[in-house]
C-alpha cells in the first residue's frame, strides 16, 4: 500500500539558500576556470573544457546513483518522496549527461580532430544517456501513479549496472580517451595544483547547481503528486 503524504519535503526548506549558493559558486568557478587557472602547456586553452566536462561526468554518475538509491527506497517503503527524488534526479542527470557528451565533443574536435569517435567511453556514455531517456519515456507512458513508480524503480535499479561499465571502459578496452587524471589508483592526481583547485571548485559548484535543480524539480513533483493523490482520495 502506498504511504501517501502531501506534506512538503524537508529539503524544500533549503531551496532559496541552495539557489543563491549554487549561483555564487558557479560564478566563482567560471572566473577560476576562465581567468585564474593557467593555460596548459600542451593543449593551450582548449583544456579548460575539463572544468565543465569533469564535473558534468561526476554529476551524471551521481544523479543515476541517486536514482538507484531512490528506486530502492520506493520499492522498500512505497513513500512518494522517493519516487519524486528518482524522477527529479533522472531528469537532471539526463541534462548533465547531455552536457557531459557535448563538452567532451567540443574538446575532442581540436584535440582528436573529430567531434565523435567510436571510443568505448563515448559509446558507453551515449548508451547510459539513452538508457535514462528510456527511463523517462517509460514514466511518461504509464498513467497510474503507483505502477509508474514501481516500474521506473525496477528499471532504475537495473540500469545502474551500466555506470561502472561506463567508468571502467577506458581501463577494460582499448580507448583513445585519456585515463583518469585525478582519481588514479595507487597514485596522486596528475594535475597542476592551481588547475586541481579550479577543478575542485568547479565540481563543488556544479554539484550545488545539481542539488538546486533537484530540489526545484522535486517541489514540482510534490505538487503533481499532491494533485494525483487528492484526486484519488
Amino acid at each position: 500500500m502506498i504511504k501517501t503524504t502531501t506534506a512538503p519535503f524537508p529539503t524544500i526548506r533549503l531551496r532559496p539558500w541552495l539557489g543563491i549558493t549554487a549561483t555564487a559558486a558557479a560564478i566563482l568557478a567560471s572566473w577560476m576556470g576562465l581567468v585564474w587557472a593557467p593555460t596548459d602547456a600542451v593543449q593551450g586553452d582548449v583544456y579548460r573544457v575539463i572544468y565543465v566536462h569533469v564535473p558534468t561526468a561526476w554529476l551524471a554518475y551521481l544523479a543515476f546513483v541517486i536514482v538507484f538509491l531512490a528506486s530502492i527506497g520506493w520499492l522498500w517503503t512505497r513513500r512518494p518522496w522517493f519516487d519524486a527524488l528518482a524522477v527529479a534526479s533522472a531528469e537532471v542527470g539526463v541534462v548533465f549527461t547531455g552536457l557531459f557528451i557535448v563538452a567532451g565533443s567540443i574538446w575532442a574536435k581540436p584535440t582528436w580532430g573529430v567531434w565523435w569517435t567510436w571510443d568505448p567511453r563515448l559509446v558507453t556514455t551515449a548508451i547510459m544517456f539513452l538508457m535514462y531517456l528510456g527511463y523517462l519515456l517509460l514514466r511518461s507512458l504509464s498513467t497510474d501513479f503507483e505502477r509508474r513508480a514501481t516500474r521506473a524503480a525496477v528499471l532504475g535499479v537495473i540500469a545502474v549496472v551500466d555506470i561502472p561499465i561506463v567508468h571502467l571502459s577506458v581501463l577494460w578496452m582499448n580507448s583513445v580517451h585519456q585515463l583518469p587524471t585525478v582519481a588514479r589508483i595507487g597514485a596522486g592526481p596528475a594535475l597542476d595544483a592551481q588547475m586541481g583547485m579550479t577543478l575542485g571548485v568547479s565540481v563543488i559548484a556544479f554539484t550545488l547547481v545539481y542539488f538546486a535543480l533537484l530540489v526545484e524539480r522535486m517541489e514540482l513533483e510534490r505538487r503533481r503528486q499532491t494533485r494525483v493523490l487528492e484526486q484519488r482520495s
Partner: protein
C-alpha cells in the same frame, strides 16, 4: 510445490502454448532468416562472409527475435488473462519471471540453431573452432532472456509497449552484443583464448542480470 517446480510449470505452459500455436517461433525464424539473406545483399557476398560482420548480423537478428518471441508470449497471456491466474498462485510473480526466462531461452535456442545453420550454409562460413563457437553461442543466448523478460515485464500494459521493450533492453544488452559478436568472431577465426574470455563475460552478464531480475523484477508484475 517448490519455487523451481512453479517456474518450470510456467515455462512448460509457455512452451506448450508455443507448440500449439507457434506464431512467435514462426515470426522469429522468418525474421532471422530474412535478416541473414538481406545481409549478403547489403554488405555484398565478400564482406558478409567476414567473421565479425556475419556474427554481428546474426546476434542483432537474434536480439530482435528475442523481443518478438517475448512480446508474443506476454500477448498470449494478456489475451486470455492467464497472467492473472499465474500471479494469483503463491509465489506466482517469481514463477512467472523465472518461467518466462526459461521458456524464452529454450525457444531462442531453436531460433539461434536454425539461424546459425542458415548463416553457415548461406555464407559458406569456415569454422575454425566449432566447440568454442557452440560455447559462445550458448552463453550469448542464455544472456538474453533475463534482460528481455525484465523489460517486457516493466513495459507490460504500457502504451507503445512494442517500442518501449527494445528501447529499454537494447542499451542494457550492449555488453551482451559486443561479447557475443566478438566471441563468435574469435571462434570463427581460431582465436580460442579470446572466445573463452568473451564466453566468461557473457556468463557473468547472465549471472548479474539473472540475480537482479529474480530479486526485484517480480515486484513490477501486476
Amino acid at each position: 510445490m517448490s519455487s523451481l517446480d512453479r517456474a518450470l510449470l510456467v515455462a512448460a505452459r509457455d512452451l506448450f502454448a508455443e507448440r500449439a500455436q507457434p506464431d512467435g517461433l514462426a515470426a522469429a525464424l522468418t525474421f532471422t532468416g530474412m535478416v541473414i539473406l538481406l545481409e549478403s545483399l547489403a554488405f555484398g557476398p565478400g564482406r558478409a562472409r567476414e567473421a565479425d560482420v556475419a556474427s554481428g548480423v546474426f546476434w542483432i537478428a537474434v536480439l530482435f527475435a528475442a523481443v518478438l518471441i517475448s512480446a508474443r508470449s506476454f500477448d498470449r497471456d494478456l489475451e486470455d488473462d492467464a497472467i492473472d491466474a499465474v500471479i494469483a498462485m503463491p509465489g506466482g510473480r517469481d514463477a512467472l519471471y523465472a518461467g518466462k526466462v526459461v521458456a524464452l531461452g529454450v525457444i531462442l535456442l531453436i531460433v539461434a540453431a536454425a539461424a546459425g545453420l542458415f548463416s553457415i550454409f548461406l555464407l559458406d562460413l569456415q569454422i575454425a573452432l566449432p566447440a568454442h563457437l557452440l560455447l559462445v553461442a550458448l552463453a550469448g543466448i542464455i544472456a538474453l532472456p533475463p534482460v528481455i523478460v525484465t523489460t517486457s515485464v516493466i513495459a507490460l500494459r504500457v502504451r507503445a509497449r512494442f517500442a518501449v521493450v527494445p528501447i529499454l533492453s537494447f542499451p542494457m544488452l550492449v555488453p551482451q552484443l559486443v561479447a557475443a559478436t566478438q566471441g563468435a568472431a574469435a571462434a570463427l577465426t581460431g582465436d580460442g583464448p579470446a572466445a573463452l574470455a568473451w564466453a566468461g563475460l557473457l556468463a557473468s552478464f547472465t549471472l548479474v542480470y539473472g540475480v537482479l531480475g529474480l530479486t526485484i523484477v517480480p515486484a513490477a508484475i501486476e
